[in-house]
Subunit: 383 residues, 2 copies
C-alpha cells in the first residue's frame, strides 16, 4: 500500500457514484483514505460529497485506465462494468476488487447457477432457456409458476418475471434477452448474509438478517433475523463464506437466500455493499462500507458484531411529495434516537432516496420506530 | 429552512477547515445536508472531503459575507472569527450559530469569568491584571502559584502560564498581552460536560466525561467519568445547561471543569464540537457533530445516550515517524473493534493528527485497547 506522502492515505477509486459510493465516503473520512469516484454527472449522489470526482463512461476502457492510475485499489458502486475491462485493468497491475473472475458470478446469473451447483450450494432447480417450449419442458419437471430471469441485465428496468403458463413465458422470451428458468421456491421468508473477504483470504460474516420485500422491492431489514434457529443461521453464514472463498470474492459479498421448510436456497449474489447491510452503519462495530474499504485494501477486517440487540433499517422510497426536508422536524422530534440517511437524490416515485435505522432491545418497538420514520418522511402519514 | 430544490438539503457554512469541520462532513452526509467550508488552503483537513470548499481569510468581513450567501446557517470550526464580523453578518440576516453575544464568552476569558460569576457558576478566584504587582496582590490573597491566562489568544502558541512567584509573573506580563489571573485549583481530576442548545431553546447534555491531560494536552477521554458520584454528575450537567441557557449558546458548548474536594469549578468554555466529545461518533446515539448541525439548523436534538457502557477516546499525537499508514495493519489485526480516525493532516511532532475509540463493558480493558492503538499508531511501540 503506497503512501505518496505521510499525510495522504491510500487512494481507493470507486467506479459509479450512487449512494453506495456516497456511504463509502462516510467510512473513508475517519480511515484517512482518499476516495476518487467515476461519475456520469456531477449531480450524482456520491459526486456531491467526494472532492476527487471524475466524469466519464465506465464502459470505456481508456476512461477506466486513466481513472485507475494512482489508485491503490479500484472497486465498484455497481456491477455493470464489462468483465473484459476489469480483466484488462488487472493485467496492467491495477488492484481491482472484486476481480473479474469473481464478479462475473454477480453479473451473469447462468454462470452463478453453474458455479454454485458445482460447489454444492443449494439452489432452486434451473436451466437456461431459449424458447417458450424450453420453459414448458422445464415446467413439466418442476411445475408452474416458473421464474424467468435475464442472464445479464434485463429490459424495461426489469430482470425477473414470474410466469404462470407457457403464454406468459412466450411473451418474455419474445424480448430476445438470454434467459434462465428457475423453479419457483415456496419460501417462508427471505434472508440475507453479508460477508467480507480480503485478498489474503480473511473472511468475516455479519449476522444473518431478514429482508422484507413489497412488490419486489426491499422495504425493511431486520437484524438479526428474528427467531432464526442458531444452526440454520450458522449454516447460512457457512454457505456465504464458502461462496466467497470458492469464487475468490474480494470485498463484500451479499448472499440473498430463501428460508424454506426444506432448508436454505440461494437466490441472488451481489459483490458490493448491499441494501441488506445498511443497518451496519450504526448497528455494527464496523459498517459494511468500512469493511468493504478495508477488504479491497487488503487490510485486516473489522468486527461485525452488533451494537444493539436489534437493529431495523427501513428504506425511504420516493412518494408523491418531493420535499422530504420539511418532514425532518417531526421525525427528529418524535424519536431522538432514529437515524436518518438521505442519499442526496432527486425524489422520484418509488425510487430509493434514503433509509432510516432504529436500534434497541425490543424488536417490535424498534421496528415500529423505523417504520414510523420511513412512512412519515416519504408520505407525511402518521402511523 | 429553505430547500432550493427537492433533493438539495439545507446548506451549512463552516468557517474554518480543520478536523472539526472534517468530522462534521461525516455527519452531514447521511443527514443530506450540504456543507460549505471556508478554508485557508485546499490542503486543510476538511477541504479534502468537502466539495464546496471556498478559500479566503475569515478575518475579512467581505469574504465572510460572500461565504454566507445562500447558507441556511453559518457556524465555526474555531473561535477566532472577530466578534464584530459575526454581529455584522447576523444584522444582515445570516443565521450565525453561536451568535456573537454568546461566542464572546469563549473568545474572551475575562468576559467569561465576569458573566459566569454573575450567574453564580463556581469559578476559581480571578481578576484581570496589568502589572506584576497586580499579580503579587492577587497572590497575597489567593496564594502562589497563580495561573495567568491571555484574555484572548496568547503568544508563541501558548495562552496559559502557571507562575510560582512574582518574577515568573513579570516575565509573562512583559509580553504585553492582556491577562487574567486565576487561583491555582488543586483538583482531583478534570471533567468535561458537552451540551447542545438550539435556537428554540431545547437543550441536551451528554454524560459527564473525564479528560486526562499530559503536558497540558488532552490525551484521553473516559466516558462516562469513572466512579463519578451521580449527584455530582447531575450538578455538572445542570451547570453546563445553565451556562448554555444564560449565555444564549446555539450549537454545542463544552464546559471543562475541575473536580475538587470542595466541589466543581469551571475551567474553560468552548462553543463548538470539542475534543472531549470525539468519543460520541461511535459511542453515543447522536455524535456531537450531528448534534451541532441539528442545533445550528434549529432542528430537534438527537439522543445523547451511550452506545456502550464505557467508551474511551485516545488522541493521536504526531510522533517522530510521519508514516502512520504503515502501522494501520497491526492495529486493525490486533483489535478488530477499535475505530481509527485520521484527520488527513501532515504529521508533526505533538500535533493532533487523529484519534482512536474503543468501547465495551470493562473500563480497564477498553482503556488498554484505546491506549495500545494510540501508542502503536504514533510510535510503533507495543504496549
Amino acid at each position: 500500500m503506497s503512501s505518496p506522502s505521510s499525510h495522504v492515505g491510500p487512494v481507493v477509486g470507486v467506479v459509479g457514484a450512487g449512494q453506495l459510493a456516497r456511504m463509502m465516503q462516510q467510512a473513508a473520512i475517519p480511515l484517512g483514505l482518499e476516495l476518487r469516484v467515476l461519475a456520469n454527472s456531477p449531480d450524482e449522489s456520491a459526486a456531491k460529497v467526494i472532492v476527487d470526482t471524475r466524469l466519464g463512461d465506465y464502459r470505456d476502457l481508456s476512461v477506466l485506465r486513466e481513472f485507475a492510475a494512482g489508485c491503490d485499489a479500484v472497486t465498484f458502486d455497481h456491477e455493470h462494468v464489462p468483465t473484459e475491462h476489469i480483466k484488462a485493468m488487472a493485467e496492467q497491475g491495477v488492484q481491482v476488487h472484486p476481480g473479474a473472475d469473481a464478479l462475473v458470478h454477480a453479473q451473469d446469473k447462468a454462470e452463478m447457477r453453474r458455479r454454485l451447483t458445482e460447489i454444492g450450494v443449494p439452489c432452486p432447480a434451473w436451466r437456461t432457456v431459449e424458447t417458450a417450449a424450453d420453459v414448458a419442458d422445464f415446467a413439466a419437471q418442476n411445475g408452474w409458476p416458473v421464474v424467468l430471469k435475464a442472464v445479464r441485465g434485463g429490459y424495461d428496468g426489469r430482470g425477473v418475471w414470474v410466469c404462470d403458463d407457457e403464454n406468459e413465458a412466450a411473451t418474455v422470451v419474445a424480448n430476445g434477452v438470454p434467459l434462465l428458468a428457475e423453479a419457483f421456491v415456496p419460501f417462508e421468508r427471505e434472508l440475507a448474509v453479508l460477508v467480507a473477504r480480503s485478498p489474503h483470504g480473511q473472511g468475516v460474516s455479519y449476522p444473518v438478517v431478514e429482508t422484507v420485500q413489497e412488490d419486489g422491492i426491499c422495504v425493511e431489514v431486520l437484524a438479526p433475523a428474528p427467531g432464526l434457529d442458531a444452526e440454520v443461521a450458522a449454516q447460512a453464514q457457512r454457505i456465504a463464506l464458502k461462496i466467497a472463498d470458492e469464487l475468490g470474492v474480494t470485498g463484500l459479498l451479499a448472499v440473498e437466500m430463501f428460508e424454506t421448510t426444506d432448508g436454505l436456497v440461494v437466490n441472488e449474489l451481489a459483490m458490493r455493499p448491499h441494501n441488506s447491510g445498511h443497518w451496519t452503519i450504526e448497528g455494527a462495530r464496523t459498517s459494511q462500507f468500512e469493511q468493504h474499504l478495508r477488504a479491497v485494501l487488503n487490510l485486516p477486517l473489522g468486527s461485525p458484531s452488533m451494537a444493539a440487540p436489534y437493529v431495523v433499517m427501513a428504506n425511504l422510497l420516493g412518494g408523491d411529495d418531493p420535499d422530504i426536508f420539511k418532514r425532518y422536524e417531526h421525525v427528529m422530534a418524535h424519536d431522538p434516537g432514529v437515524k436518518v440517511h438521505f442519499y442526496g437524490k432527486e425524489v422520484r416515485k418509488g425510487r430509493k432516496i434514503g433509509h432510516v435505522t432504529a436500534l434497541g432491545a425490543d424488536l417490535d418497538d424498534v421496528r415500529a420506530r423505523a417504520r414510523h420514520a420511513a412512512v412519515y418522511l416519504t408520505t407525511g402519514e402518521y402511523t
